[in-house]
Symmetry: C2
Subunit: 649 residues, 2 copies
Amino acid sequence: MSTSAAPFNRSALEQVLLKRFFYAPAFAIYGGVAGLYDYGPPGCALQANVLDIWRKHFVLEEDMLEVDCSIMTPAEVLKTSGHVDRFSDWMCKDLKSGEIFRADHLVENVLEARIEGDAIARNQEVEAKKVDEKKKKKAAKVSAVRLDDQVVQTYKEILAQIDNYSGPELGEIMRTHQIKSPETGNDLSEPQVFNLMFASSIGPTGQFPGYLRPETAQGQFLNFKRLLEYNNDRMPFASAQIGRSFRNEISPREGLLRVREFTMAEIEHYVDPAKKDHPRFKEVSDYALNILPASVQLQGKTDLVKITVGEAVKQKIIDNETLGYFLVRIHQFLVKIGINADRVRFRQHMANEMAHYACDCWDAEIHTSFGWKECVGCADRSAYDLTVHSNKTGEKLVVRERLPEPLTEEKLQIEVNKKVFGPRFKKNAKVVEDHLTGLDQCTLEGLKKSFDDKDSFSVNVNNEDFEVTKDLIAKFEKVSVTTHIREYTPNVIEPSFGIGRILYALMEHVYYVRPEDEQRGVLGFPPVVAPTKCLLVPLSSNEAFVPALNEVSTLLRKAGVSNKVDDSGAAIGRRYARNDELGTPFGITIDFQTVQDGTITLRERDSTKQIREKMSVIVELVKDMCEGRTTWEEVQAKYPAFVGQEVSE
Amino acid sequence: MSTSAAPFNRSALEQVLLKRFFYAPAFAIYGGVAGLYDYGPPGCALQANVLDIWRKHFVLEEDMLEVDCSIMTPAEVLKTSGHVDRFSDWMCKDLKSGEIFRADHLVENVLEARIEGDAIARNQEVEAKKVDEKKKKKAAKVSAVRLDDQVVQTYKEILAQIDNYSGPELGEIMRTHQIKSPETGNDLSEPQVFNLMFASSIGPTGQFPGYLRPETAQGQFLNFKRLLEYNNDRMPFASAQIGRSFRNEISPREGLLRVREFTMAEIEHYVDPAKKDHPRFKEVSDYALNILPASVQLQGKTDLVKITVGEAVKQKIIDNETLGYFLVRIHQFLVKIGINADRVRFRQHMANEMAHYACDCWDAEIHTSFGWKECVGCADRSAYDLTVHSNKTGEKLVVRERLPEPLTEEKLQIEVNKKVFGPRFKKNAKVVEDHLTGLDQCTLEGLKKSFDDKDSFSVNVNNEDFEVTKDLIAKFEKVSVTTHIREYTPNVIEPSFGIGRILYALMEHVYYVRPEDEQRGVLGFPPVVAPTKCLLVPLSSNEAFVPALNEVSTLLRKAGVSNKVDDSGAAIGRRYARNDELGTPFGITIDFQTVQDGTITLRERDSTKQIREKMSVIVELVKDMCEGRTTWEEVQAKYPAFVGQEVSE
């Protein structure tokens, strides 16, 4: 990447993105709706290219089973998955104006502004360049108030674990630190829970509630049985899905980073809980990542640890090989599409911020001008989802594996004495018996102890206690059981990609301005993701260029290289500038020499260097660079630089 | 396509599609929800391939601007577009059981069943094979009642224009023909209107209503200004979008044909209303289509007319070249993906069935075992959408074109006499004046006539009449006006594809059973859309085959040919049978001769014929066939058939 002449300027980038219609607020002519965006032609093409790489990198490379499931989801499914009760944020209300805030963001913004104000007051040098627009505004708003060292320290500690607080804890912080409604200074309500799903109703009766899915995962879990069968019952395997999800954010902000509707790409990798190793782990074990474990954050710190995945798994910082393998694959993907490797870190979730379904989670966070932002989550969802859906529906969502050799074990078995059991428990007899015979070995061991000691034990079924005495039991002893089949509920490792966030971070990372001209912004996309690969520029609108122009265009199209002709007649420099903003990596010029000898010049965007070769050679080179088989550096090493002028007559 | 040994059997096809997980009812383990489906791995790949062809055939070939817009849509937008008031079907309710029916479907089903019953009663030979499952059930349910010839004729006439009735008309038919709730025989309510959009609410206040988009079109219209600018203000041009839309159908039925959530691919082609010709029309004018004009249907007939598009446009059966051009392009696309050309017709909408935004509409209907089904709509939406959004928001959604030379016209101009006008109309003076000065030339001509004849005219503004007398008018005469710019609202021609319906029709069209074995179903997808292109079969699980297997697989992957290895150890015939059901067009066998000389056998699914060549030759041939550059017939003509056996040791 070229080095930029100027420090990163977010508003300049945003202007380019809007002007070139990478994306724009949706429904803008109606005033827009916070958190909803439309992608224009270059944004749409960029997204398609990134998804195409994603599909090759994950689905094809690892033979995953891709599915495409329903977005509209019955409430019952999301009740079972826990989303109806627990997929929520904390909001609080300005008690007079009625304005609504997301509680954790409010605390974060206010404390950051106070620290800023303190810094100004201390007359420290506030490095103006590093303070982004929003912070500037905030800083301008807060008075420069000097705080005690101890207070600043407390604020910093709160901020380091801002994602870790419950609603009541946030309320406590707001009271302790006198946090009010920022614009009005009014009092705020206690944080209240707000469910983030969009609700609707399915069918004409109005009596069948549904939600828009908040993640693509549930559709994959519900199809587990079909997928396992499709995979010829082989384990481990993964399903994958690319699609739209919806979250009714309390206060969307930061452009594409927090939106209400977004494209996700999710992988559900089903693994034997007893074998979380990964066959390809050794291929990646030397790969080093920047990580931020939960233990570090809980000390109120954010220092990164650079460590190989092999070492991190060995030290149990990362729980298992499969999780480690996917962290590396995620990192490789991000780098492949053009994300700056130095600006990626993996942050482990702290206990309270973990989603209700996860038992461990690492976020791939990408550094942007808004700070570190979660762009990919990689959660170990354990057997949570398959278990709850199975319990609810009675459908077994398990793997049954023939054991290499039959396994004979001593197992506790319990049998009731029906003659006494029925009359004693009457209408409850059936459920109590089912409960007893369904108990796992561990629980049975406990009961057996009590049974041997006291000739009875008690069980709780449907919130009612039942005393089971010796006379009720026909048999309660170890018997030798031979099994040929092992049955287990797989665990799920889930890498989950927020595509819009990744695209935004990518656009920040590749954006620079020409060293020779600060007004000239360039989106330095790697060829493989660039929306348009090649610009075709005839030197002028002279009719003589048309046949060659059509020939190159057809050759490129056949080679699968997207290209645009600019025959607008503007100066060539101006035509290139427009395409700098679109991130088009290559430009081909057709001049009078082309008409004579069939050669064309190829110009590369970042270096602005050129070569001149026969049409067929150039097309092949462009194709190879766009498909990642070679690079401009290699091409330059092989072909002489063309330093002449285009032949204008 | 191979001819089938047996007539089409829908339930056999459905079993294959479910077993191989092309698609399945969504949320099946929760009992499912009518009208919601999930695509499994082969269905998902089939869909991706069809969309890829769609993108190449339309977006790339015609340089369209692809966008990706928000699904969640503020109510105000859909109020303006007319969907809140008019995007609805008629439903009626069983007055006792509460069961809800879509009124037109109910009438259709009942009358069809009666005609069936009559046919049985007449002891006509009901060709059992042509009667599908559902009709059989219906026929079994209705008693075989003989009807008058006249009644049968009336029923047939109603059915021919079933899509043309309003709710009250359906109610009238139900009363006249004694239509009751089919299962219970109970009375039914009058047809009531039911809006087909899924409603939700955006943001935390609950006070910002939204709907899930019922079509992808509105997002494109709202971005018209940005898109025109992106296209350097050139006309005509088209935007396109592929994405999910939602319709809360009253009673979804017929599998993928009527669902509540579906992927659409829509094109909005913006055209100068004064120039609806198309630059490429002459390329397609000799292309013949089967069409069913509205005029024929209104006579209660369904006879197809075979006519070239050139002739149809000339005769004004098809309104204009652009519409005609797209009908051909749609037909070409359908044939390309494998739809049987003889089973496609273009049916023109009758006045009452036209969507509220359309002024002309032709559906590409594909024949399936459910009858003729609309799979692509091609509507002329005129300037409807851009006009209503522009009026509502005040944002000009127009094209401004510099005229080749300035245009000087005589135009009627009206000017009020403010001194008298104000006092006379008081608070209404402003609106009446604005009304008068905003009138178009045609209306002004009319008023001028009355004005000249009677020295006054009357206008209606906001439902109030105003008499405008001579003393109120300062000037009302022709003046010479010179314009340099022509401003107009483009008309929109909209080809709109229901992808799920097309996929289902395709699967019906390509399905057949092996002549030699009725149990063996084949999905004869053209290679270009087949979910998996190539099956790799080692003769046995012998280790000796592994290197060659890996080599072929890598070569195919590099060539972009999706392939699966089946090393399951089942008999080769059985492995091929499984892949017949998945529609895999090619099979490559690796045997001991491969190990010796590097040759492999290539088998084609439909002919079951084989050739044997070097690995690199076969891979190249498969790639060419999958990308449509050559066909199996051509390959067979060039390479000798391999009739030997695989070398098993």
